[in-house]
Symmetry: D2
Subunit: 347 residues, 4 copies
Amino acid sequence: MPPRTKPRRSFASDNNAGVHTKVMEAIAATTEGHVVAYGDDPYTEAAVALFREQFGKEVEVFFVFGGTGANVLGLKAVTEPYHAIICADTAHINLDECGAPEKFTGCKLLSLPTRDGKITVDQISPFLDAVGFEHHVQPRVISISQSTEMGTVYNPGELKKLSSFAHKNELLLHMDGARIANAAASLKANLSTITKDVGVDVLSFGGAKNGMMYGEAVIFFDRSLAKDFKYTRKQGAHLPSKMRFISVQFSALLSNDLWRENAAHANNMAKLLAQELGRIPLVEITQKVESNGVFARLPKKYIALLQKQVFFYVWNEQTSEVRFMTSFDTTPRDISDFVALVKKTLS
Amino acid sequence: MPPRTKPRRSFASDNNAGVHTKVMEAIAATTEGHVVAYGDDPYTEAAVALFREQFGKEVEVFFVFGGTGANVLGLKAVTEPYHAIICADTAHINLDECGAPEKFTGCKLLSLPTRDGKITVDQISPFLDAVGFEHHVQPRVISISQSTEMGTVYNPGELKKLSSFAHKNELLLHMDGARIANAAASLKANLSTITKDVGVDVLSFGGAKNGMMYGEAVIFFDRSLAKDFKYTRKQGAHLPSKMRFISVQFSALLSNDLWRENAAHANNMAKLLAQELGRIPLVEITQKVESNGVFARLPKKYIALLQKQVFFYVWNEQTSEVRFMTSFDTTPRDISDFVALVKKTLS
Amino acid sequence: MPPRTKPRRSFASDNNAGVHTKVMEAIAATTEGHVVAYGDDPYTEAAVALFREQFGKEVEVFFVFGGTGANVLGLKAVTEPYHAIICADTAHINLDECGAPEKFTGCKLLSLPTRDGKITVDQISPFLDAVGFEHHVQPRVISISQSTEMGTVYNPGELKKLSSFAHKNELLLHMDGARIANAAASLKANLSTITKDVGVDVLSFGGAKNGMMYGEAVIFFDRSLAKDFKYTRKQGAHLPSKMRFISVQFSALLSNDLWRENAAHANNMAKLLAQELGRIPLVEITQKVESNGVFARLPKKYIALLQKQVFFYVWNEQTSEVRFMTSFDTTPRDISDFVALVKKTLS
Amino acid sequence: MPPRTKPRRSFASDNNAGVHTKVMEAIAATTEGHVVAYGDDPYTEAAVALFREQFGKEVEVFFVFGGTGANVLGLKAVTEPYHAIICADTAHINLDECGAPEKFTGCKLLSLPTRDGKITVDQISPFLDAVGFEHHVQPRVISISQSTEMGTVYNPGELKKLSSFAHKNELLLHMDGARIANAAASLKANLSTITKDVGVDVLSFGGAKNGMMYGEAVIFFDRSLAKDFKYTRKQGAHLPSKMRFISVQFSALLSNDLWRENAAHANNMAKLLAQELGRIPLVEITQKVESNGVFARLPKKYIALLQKQVFFYVWNEQTSEVRFMTSFDTTPRDISDFVALVKKTLS
């Protein structure tokens, strides 16, 4: 078989991938017939039951169209506009949602510089000086990404530290879990071990980055926080009419550990990619590879040359860092093709 | 074949239906492989091209997840918060979006009472007294639904009158076209004949109510209005990551006039349903049946009895009016089953 | 003394008046010296104490710059964006605040037609059909104006009916008391008799329309509703830095019943004006005169002629109704001059 | 004369001061009589004319109640919610307005670390990488404070550099001029020299910190930006009803260079205070004293001791820095009393 000049699959983002076969089969099996719209249907009931198997009976689960919606609405549910949301400066909510959190919640985001996408209690503490002072926004939520936008993963101990600090100070812990499956797979943990069990209050549970077509879930571990969320979801334009088509996708993902299988595969591909790229002179891997993202520094002129051939994102123009993402369907062959291309371009 | 005790398909709403076979085939054919996310892909290009075949080369087309999103973001694109949006009191934006337009645009909705879901220039004129007076919201948009929430349809002459009035007074005409296909089919008109050609400025083009799984389009007939819409869409949490799966659905709908076929069928089924129900004593059809909705008045106690057997919405508790909707997959058999059920319940 | 061709004082609005002498003296006496800004000062403490003399020790009192601010922030304190605020269509919040309530609270206003500016339980009841239905905004606040924008006054029985209905249905009662003093004077009631004692939850207490220069108070009769209001006020840009200058004005107004004296005078002048105008052929008084506003219908051409000579507002272009307001400093001579002018213009 | 144990006037903030005599005289002279409300009166016309003498005929001037309102509304006038506002992390809009800019504009604030409250083109440039990328907020406004919150002053050259950069990149330059008079006095410049002449687009012109009771102005140097500002002001709850009382204060301030006299005095007092404090061992002056603020580092335990005796703000808990402000009425005696107190406390 002759080498391809390009990998068949992109390393630009895990949402450049298509849909996993089992997810698509679940959709196809639901095509016909009528059920009540907006979630009052047996498919949705079944999917919620599967979530409750993972997280316990008392959780409240709401499906929405996409990840930005999940984050923004989950945050809205637990904030007033004079609150502050504390997060990493690399957080998706801070950087990649075009200001959706500010627009929809009215809150200020207080962002913290990080080397690896993870924030710590020591960084957060000084914001508490503002508590009770009406001129300053009032800290209310710590929002973290798991896995982080830098491909790293918080371990359960780190998560517990954050939630203990939060709860001691009347804050809540929000987790952007667009890639929660990758984190759980990386830690060989259950989903609840890194969320509910370590004190997360609100979780955006990602689907589209792990083999689904569309759909995310907002999960409240404290039911009282969800009291009026159905109105917030509808007013936020994120109540899908034909809800069942999101529900069956989640059911597929949560059955037979498909979520873990997909995520573990993507993680493994990332490890392999980092390993191979790391051997190329001029390429420096800049972050630990703990999930499905690989960050690398390349000389600027080669970045431009590479981008002419394949599409990927420059993460930081200033530091000349790029990001490569693997997905559930990345193959070893994709990686060897890509690595060959990089080698050729850099030489 | 023995009569069923219930119709197989619901008359509660056209979004209780599933997905049309051809739409599902288009999705299935796209399952594999990588394309750039967020709409920079050939599937989306193709779908936009099909829209431009309908509406002309100069239109700008943006896909979003759902109908409320389409309405709210389209309106946001052309308003400032001190503007007023004028609409029927029955309008989806006024009644059924849980205040999403007010929340996202900041605007006040000025709603007008209607008998049939249609508003007229004479009703709108008095609002112009407010122009220039800083204490009052400033009229900016007339928003109409086509077909209306009452199952009626504006004819091209009526639309032209509204747009002429709007443009003469520096207002814009927004059309909530969640059921634009039903309106065009009803009028045996082209899509552009009842939108672009009669002066509509911004259109929400519905997909989910006409055989799609999810997805709506926001269409700007004046390109300058769309200048920054990509940011509004992203900030509005309505930029789908795996965009191609909306795009191929629209391509299916716009190919071989599938949109018209589906809508005409639903319209015909509504006519049949109204005809049959209209013959039942105690049932009064209250609106002209011009698209796929049938409104009827029934004695209150029978509404309750019927609702115990099949799910449908009471439109107006005060006037004892109910709504029945047909969809692309409604069959004559569904109708005869349902009519039999109503007859039995009312006797 | 020769008759003046124009009254010395305007009947356009009670906020065209200046400042009452005693209020100005209080300001002047406070000009010098330093106190802590933003309300943590003895003048503010004293003013709040005077409010508590009127309304009871447990009330929470916050001063803001103006009336629109008072309404909007008071409403924000007790609503979420998916709530509805129910009010008369003539309400200041609905008509005369350029959409500020929608912009700042995100809520929809559900407005009710009224003949006299007063709304009733029967009109409000149907909105409760929406409770629990996520597609509809959720009723949360009934907002009334006392005295109303039509110059009428709710009596304690009417108020009690509204608050009982509200509380039975988990709604709150908000009162726009921009002219609360006029209402109390009209009813010969105490301030608490028509607010706290009849179940009002949140009150905008007006100052500027009753002899103050600027400043309004937001009063919470249930302290728990005010828990975070200091942040809402600051974020709403209504925390005055040199707060003392509002505080001393309120102290003047609440001392020696100056508030009642001013309001009663304005009310009496309105009665006189209505009496005199009512005798003129072609002038029809259209509302009961229960506070300081007089509404009258005049032939359109005479309105235009009159407006060339004195400034006043046409209330309703469609019905040819105009509004005249009296204020704390209106004199009988102003009235006789104005009536003479009207007579001359209409003859 | 025996030494006082405390200074008569506070150094906590320039808004702890009262009102300048000439301003109060102007108010008192306006107490009586009726004029049209909301700014359509001769007093307001006169005040605007005085602003135009300073800034040129083509500027648009709008009075509002306070400084946060001026900033927030001025920014709202020139932004869409998907825009970013770039500012110093110490900026009043970023730190001290309880998130009002985010709440009212929907924009994200991109804040830059500074040592002296001043930001530079080099710091801003990287944000331009986001232009055109729909996932990121779009830079639209550079907002600076003049004088800064750290008591420093941008010179005309620095301002010109910022505005040139802004305009070359389709950004606007907003100036929070709560203390613009102090800056002009410090630079011995005209007001227009450091605003209009160096390319500022929108200015918050402060009154309350320079001897007024209340009131700020929003000034647009490009008239087209102000087109609909009257609606934004009203919807923002910042249209004063008895506008004349703000107008006459501004007229007093702009007559006979009272603005400069007040500001120069405060500046001189700050210089004197810094000089005296700087001589005390254990006190370190941390910022150049270019306007009316003095920043100093003191050992933590002495800060607490001092605060028990006089009220002032700790600027930064982490670095143990405090802020002292002088005002138009600070006297040399206040300073000597205060310095004596500090000396006594620290020894």
